[in-house]
Symmetry: C2
Subunit: 289 residues, 2 copies
């Protein structure tokens, strides 16, 4: 894979066909939406209608994974799996690889080009999850956020990158969910900064460190509440793992995917439906467990 910008084709570059996009080096395939390999990651996607569940907010895209659809009608006829291009996108998520986004004229979105294809810059996969699509089958969805601020230099996997001695500081606009810090504070106090999964209390200079982790994500797409009933006190490791489907929690607080049981304070009233919502985002754990 070759991640990042391609010389000579800045954001906004227009192309008449997928073949022109391919020859330019922006996306290696002629038909497939995702360009990538499970072990190496994905470096480009094309948004061009494709799936009935796609959403396009411009800088924020909800992209549906590949597979399970009838090639002639495009309709979903089976569950999608975390393999091939979908697995490649997850690899890019875990490693924060940049993904070139190309929009095509068939896309039902105000951001679609009138004709042909347009390269729209670099995005990162912020998260992925599974849900039941409009078709009734499981689909894998990816939230992609545009990387604002500048063009990343082109890179390949071939050589060790040199990096920068003086990395630049640039202002960039991010869409932040406005969190109530007092809620996070009180959950951390309730547990004295001890992780509800492993009990670790991470000692730093001047105090302990823990994180408030939302069970049902509070992003625009999922709409979880920023309230105690939807927040856990976790160490950064278990927070990272929980958000990325490394484990889930059953209604009796036993853990799925890893050993153990969630420690719950008597005054901490967790809303069970939020645990259910989170489990549904990562159904492979339930199947494999």
């Amino acid at each position: 894979m070759a991640f990042g910008e391609v010389d000579g084709y800045p954001e906004g570059s227009l192309f008449e066909s997928r073949d022109e996009v391919r020859v330019a080096g922006l996306h290696r395939h002629l038909v497939k939406g995702i360009a990538g390999r499970p072990d190496e990651g994905a470096d480009a996607i094309v948004l061009n209608q494709g799936y009935e569940d796609d959403v396009d907010y411009g800088d924020l895209v909800i992209y549906t994974g590949e597979g399970g659809n009838d090639s002639s009608t495009g309709r979903q006829i089976a569950d999608q799996k975390l393999t091939a291009g979908n697995a490649a996108l997850v690899t890019s998520e875990l490693n924060e690889y940049p993904i070139r986004v190309i929009r095509g004229y068939k896309l039902k979105s105000p951001y679609a080009p009138q004709s042909g294809y347009r390269y729209d810059g670099l995005y990162f996969v912020k998260s992925h999850w599974t849900e039941t699509g409009k078709s009734g089958f499981e689909i894998i969805r990816f939230e992609l956020n545009k990387f604002n601020g500048h063009q990343l230099p082109p890179h390949s996997n071939q050589n060790l990158p040199l990096g920068n001695d003086n990395p630049e500081v640039r202002p960039s606009v991010v869409n932040k969910v406005v969190r109530d810090r007092a809620v996070t504070r009180s959950i951390k106090e309730m547990y004295d900064d001890k992780c509800q999964v492993c009990g670790i209390q991470l000692a730093c200079e001047g105090g302990n460190y823990s994180e408030g982790a939302h069970i049902k994500p509070i992003s625009k797409v999922h709409g979880g509440a920023d309230k105690l009933k939807n927040i856990l006190c976790l160490c950064p490791n278990h927070h990272a793992q929980f958000d990325r489907g490394g484990f889930c929690i059953s209604d009796d607080f036993s853990l799925i995917g890893i050993e153990g049981r969630l420690n719950v304070h008597p005054e901490h009233q967790i809303e069970i439906s939020n645990l259910q919502y989170h489990r549904n985002l990562f159904p492979s754990l339930l199947r494999d467990g």
Copy 2:
């Protein structure tokens, strides 16, 4: 402490004296710069000359801690300690508590008010470290970043906060250091996502997760390089702990503050002076260890 905005005193409110600031409920003291307690955190600071090492970039403030200065001349005559107001600011850092920033007329900065005092909104402590000040004595410095985007509601420690069922999503501008993702990628590949401190490989859905941690921070203030010689592959826990002075690394890669030794790949040429720079940020570890 009472964190956050105070009703009736929006950002930009002007005051003739410290006493007016105090009566308004913005800062509890008449002379001290930091309002806070080590165990509860700090909720407000006044920038008003004070220390010769202070820096004011507006939305980014480098604030010098308290103590060690002669009360009549203001000159530094002893090392500062991580106690009292300084410890309160660290508690606010670890818990992400908002801090009201008030600028006074004596401040040598383009952002100082012409006379009296001005409430300038909420900031967060991004990091703290120790350095040798212009005086030759150790001072503790705090990087504060302005919380952009909106006014946080007022809060006290008295009751459990209610939080929000539908937290708002707002665009806000952040100053990001432009990191070369290819550098982080290659460090994670080199170690196969295994933490160089504890060896953990954090399993998530679809792959493993690790983080690229800079040894000498790459923020504007510290100016570390975004290169392999300045990056470690760490799990989120050890990354959080390393950045917050929970442990340091000696030149022979043995750990200071926690047990163990850094695992270093033969092709990973860590610049030893960066380890030294990081150790100097947290000298209490060396003294206590």
